[in-house]
């Protein structure tokens, strides 16, 4: 019942289209005055993109990077969510471990990448580890904060119906935490996706990050641009096509819709 009025939807689309056209025009104008290896124009990048797709390894690279990000992310969710719930339900444990979380958060992803190379060498595990170390604290923190918002009245209600601890966890804690988990997961996936490329540039022999570095080393700037555009479009599609609709469907009970 919360459909956006049609006119405002059309106007939003129109604004987006104008913005894209403006960006492309600006890019094209600037590229006219620059050497190709510094800033290739939109057309040349489009050609490079077609070349990439036809090269044969394009979808393999895309697939392997996606696999590493998703694997790291799923591991982070599987570890971070239960830990977050544990911290949220026990203030003493939370107090004790809180500094550890700050430490993990201050270590840059690049440092994790260096460690990963030392420990795992050139392998999938390197990138997965870096994604994990970046995403896990984000998910943990959000779930933890979510667990703190659980309404004691709701827990008491469940107890008055003589529900077991598992039932209280499933019927009261989970639904309360879910929006927080979702917000954390979205953030974590975005960060994980970005750091995976950093990890791949130094710790793998395939994947998008590796191709980016290869292209840069060979001064194939048009290919670097083509990969970048591909990534941006992919992330936007994921956001608008999967995450936003999913969030709207899951949380339509919220007042803000």
């Amino acid at each position: 019942m919360s459909t956006v009025p049609r006119s405002s939807f059309v106007s939003t689309v129109a604004q987006r289209v104008v913005l894209v056209v403006l960006l492309l025009a600006a890019w094209w104008l600037v590229s006219l005055r620059m050497p190709q290896f510094v800033l290739p124009g939109p057309l040349r990048v489009a050609h490079a993109f077609v070349g990439l797709v036809q090269s044969g390894t394009f979808f393999d690279d895309l697939g392997i990077t996606l696999y590493r990000v998703v694997a790291g992310f799923l591991l982070a969710a599987a570890v971070g969510a239960p830990l977050g719930i544990a911290l949220g339900s026990s203030p003493r444990v939370a107090n004790f471990f809180e500094p550890l979380l700050s430490i993990v958060n201050t270590v840059s992803s690049a440092i994790w990448a260096v460690f990963a190379i030392i420990w795992f060498g050139i392998s999938n595990a390197t990138t997965i580890f870096v994604v994990f170390m970046t995403a896990m604290p984000l998910i943990l923190t959000n779930v933890w904060q979510g667990a703190l918002t659980v309404d004691r009245n709701h827990v008491e209600l469940a107890r008055s119906f003589r529900m077991s601890r598992t039932q209280i966890m499933r019927k009261i804690f989970m639904p309360t935490i879910l929006p927080h988990f979702f917000a954390g997961a979205r953030l974590a996936f975005g960060f994980g996706w970005r750091v995976s490329l950093v990890a791949e540039t130094i710790g793998s022999s395939n994947g998008i990050g590796y191709r980016l570095r290869q292209a840069a080393d060979l001064v194939q700037t048009d290919q670097v641009f083509a990969w970048t555009v591909t990534l941006v479009v992919l992330m936007l599609l994921l956001e608008a096509g999967v995450l936003k609709p999913l969030e709207r469907r899951l949380f339509r009970w919220k007042k803000t819709d």
């Binding site: 009245n153 119906f161 077991s164 039932q167």
Partner: protein, 250 residues
């Protein structure tokens, strides 16, 4: 137990201490089957504590509590009982129907989803909420939310309904509507009702008997029978007089 039919709820010399603080002392009274009894008192006289002990949410420090003729201890054997809180405590992520179903989800053996569904629909009809089953709580008015909470308490088909100032958050007009609703449902279901209130008018309008509590520590000051024909309106002279008399006791 005696040979006569046993009381629905029976408190015998019940006491409660929180640490060294005595909150309730020597409280004894019976609630007969199908009776509506009000626990009336100012704040701090331990009426909610008493109700929580009957509900099994709290353990009594002294005395005995009998339910349906059985001595009950701890939180066991409370299946005949339903508790309605001061706030509606609806789960915001559930629809009205799913909130009503919540009362059935702890049952063992588990009740099949289809049956929970039909029973929730039936009880929503009973409280006059047909057509709102698929609405989420934030779309419902205070009165409707209160009805959903009542539906959730009734869905298990309880023989005893405990209520802790259940309508105190509603505006006066809505509150008297809910009183009528409760009495109408009571007339068809004949469950035993024990409710806590600090509102003298509410006690007189609803209850067959009123247990008046004295504060610090909470103890029974007097038990008043209300022998007035229903429906009772506060503006009716005999009802107004009963309210006045009761107010003098507090």
């Amino acid at each position: 137990m005696s040979a006569t039919t046993s009381a629905a709820i029976s408190l015998r010399c019940v006491g409660k201490n929180f640490g060294t603080l005595k909150v309730i002392e020597h409280v004894s009274f019976d609630v007969e089957q199908g009776e509506i009894v009000a626990l009336l008192g100012t704040s701090g006289c331990g009426k909610s504590t008493l109700l929580n002990m009957v509900a099994g949410l709290l353990e009594a420090s002294e005395g005995e509590l009998w339910i349906d003729g059985n001595r009950s201890e701890g939180t066991k054997d409370r299946n005949a009982l339903s508790y309605m809180f001061q706030e509606d405590r609806l789960l915001p992520w559930r629809t009205a129907r799913a909130n009503a179903e919540f009362g059935l989800e702890a049952a063992r053996p588990a009740i099949p989803a289809r049956e929970r569904h039909t029973r929730a629909n039936a009880v929503l009809d009973l409280v006059g909420l047909q057509g709102f089953a698929d609405s989420h709580p934030h779309r419902l008015s205070g009165g409707m939310r209160s009805r959903v909470a009542l539906a959730r308490s009734l869905v298990t088909g309880p023989r005893i309904l405990l209520m802790d100032e259940p309508f105190s958050k509603l505006d006066p007009q809505m509150r008297s509507q809910m009183h009528d609703e409760l009495l109408r449902i009571h007339a068809t279901q004949r469950m035993t009702v024990l409710f806590v209130t600090h509102d003298v008018e509410e006690a007189i309008v609803l209850a067959d008997r009123v247990v008046v509590l004295a504060p610090r520590p909470g103890r029974v000051r007097e038990i008043v029978d209300v022998n007035l024909p229903r429906p009772r309106t506060a503006t009716d002279p005999t009802v107004a007089e009963a309210i006045r008399q009761l107010r003098l006791l507090i």
